[in-house]
Symmetry: D2
Subunit: 149 residues, 4 copies
């Protein structure tokens, strides 16, 4: 599957009074991982968000994570993101956070997302559309791209 | 079980370019829900964090959520938090977000947490200790408290 | 001037490894304060954001804060927000954060905001429009409303 | 003066319902800029935070920003940070955010910070100590380092 990697530095801002990363930051980074995955695979998510007023990105339906080891201020973590499964209107992205040479991830998670549009009749209403075949193909290419800014 | 409820207003800050709540905010609110649950049940989590340099709060081991309906800028959501299960050194907290009179939650989630301390020999190292019986008792009382600020 | 107050509880999520509030949270709360101020004064900011696709809220032009005393996990702070000055297309909102009975604020700040719309010809472009007289009047009424959720 | 630069990508997570960056993110990035500046200049801020339980980093006393042009989802911004002025126990850091080849910054800001320690007698109390001469020297070296992760 198409795979996107990116590095994040754990900042002072990401840490809590226990001196370790505040875990919701991982969910924010998974969101970044999925957006970068689509963009790098060739689907212009950013352009579509700007040009198509009905396109709502890929709203989350569910997410989860397991936290194995803490990260500390100054650590650099590598996020590896790829699609695990395609549904009709949805897809599952898995995310793994690792640190240095340690083969054990510090945290792993997954997201279920839908291909989201505003209902043209009621723009506030979100509807899931069929996941385009071309998007599935792009995300299925066996290639790894680093998307660190 | 002891139950804590609290209201949150969905702010401009919580919403994304799709005009709906950015989902990681729910994880931040679940964190608040668990802390408030312990505090309201009678365990002085805040005081212990200040007074006991080894106490690390209740670090997350795993978390998950399902998002049923979006929330919009200006919505008020009610979070209901309670313990679902006690382990030896861990416990599971379930969280439900609802809106207005709608009996269907807009989002539901759970957290697995441990009773965390710094290892006295290596303060950076986190160790899980036995969940105190008195804490289990406090969290098992059949009572609901609103902890909205 | 019309004044909005609201309480915030300093959560674990708001604190950094020094055990005190991470200051950018104050800027997020000032943003909430200004939105709530307009809403409570009678301008339906939330409704307009939903109903008028060109209305962009009140984008920030500048902001600043002075931090006098730290806040700690579990503290409750009261934010007091009111307009200090009206310009043609802009206005200045002052914000004061206090704690308990202490007459000395823990932090004070201000924001310069404009009355923002999308340019109908280039929706991505932001333009400042004349601040409506009725909005000035609403914000000038001598009244204090608590907008805590 | 010693200068640190770093790139940030504007993520979906950083944008608000107006489709532009939510400004408090700039304050979070300035915080990162100052920490990275000290670290890159040769003062091991991260190590000291871990090894010296009394060291509290460099708490903010005041901050401000002016926002000239919005940033959009997918934009990459370059932050340039350097000390502008040294006080006895404090220092002022200026930060400039730019985009692409545009010589006009999109946003500029500054922070006043102190050299912060916990009072050994009352660990909760924050005291400002004399800014070490060696730190001033490190931050005065005429050199630019990119600290992008």
């Amino acid at each position: 599957m198409f795979t996107a990697t990116q590095r994040f530095r754990v900042e002072w801002a990401h840490c809590d009074p226990a001196g370790i990363i505040f875990n919701p930051n991982y969910y924010i980074w998974m969101d970044s991982g999925t957006h970068a995955l689509l963009q790098a695979a060739g689907f212009d998510l950013i352009g579509n968000t700007h040009s198509d007023p009905l396109f709502r990105g890929c709203p989350l339906v569910a997410s989860n994570m397991a936290f194995k080891k803490p990260l500390y201020f100054g650590d650099v973590t590598l996020l590896t993101s790829r699609v695990e499964k395609f549904g009709k209107t949805s897809f599952v992205v898995t995310h793994e956070f690792s640190k240095g040479e340690d083969p054990q991830p510090v945290a792993t998670g997954s997201e279920v997302r839908v291909w989201g549009y505003s209902d043209p009749e009621q723009p506030e209403k979100l509807v899931a559309r069929l996941l385009p075949e071309e998007v599935k193909l792009m995300l299925s290419v066996d290639k790894t791209v680093d998307v660190t800014v």
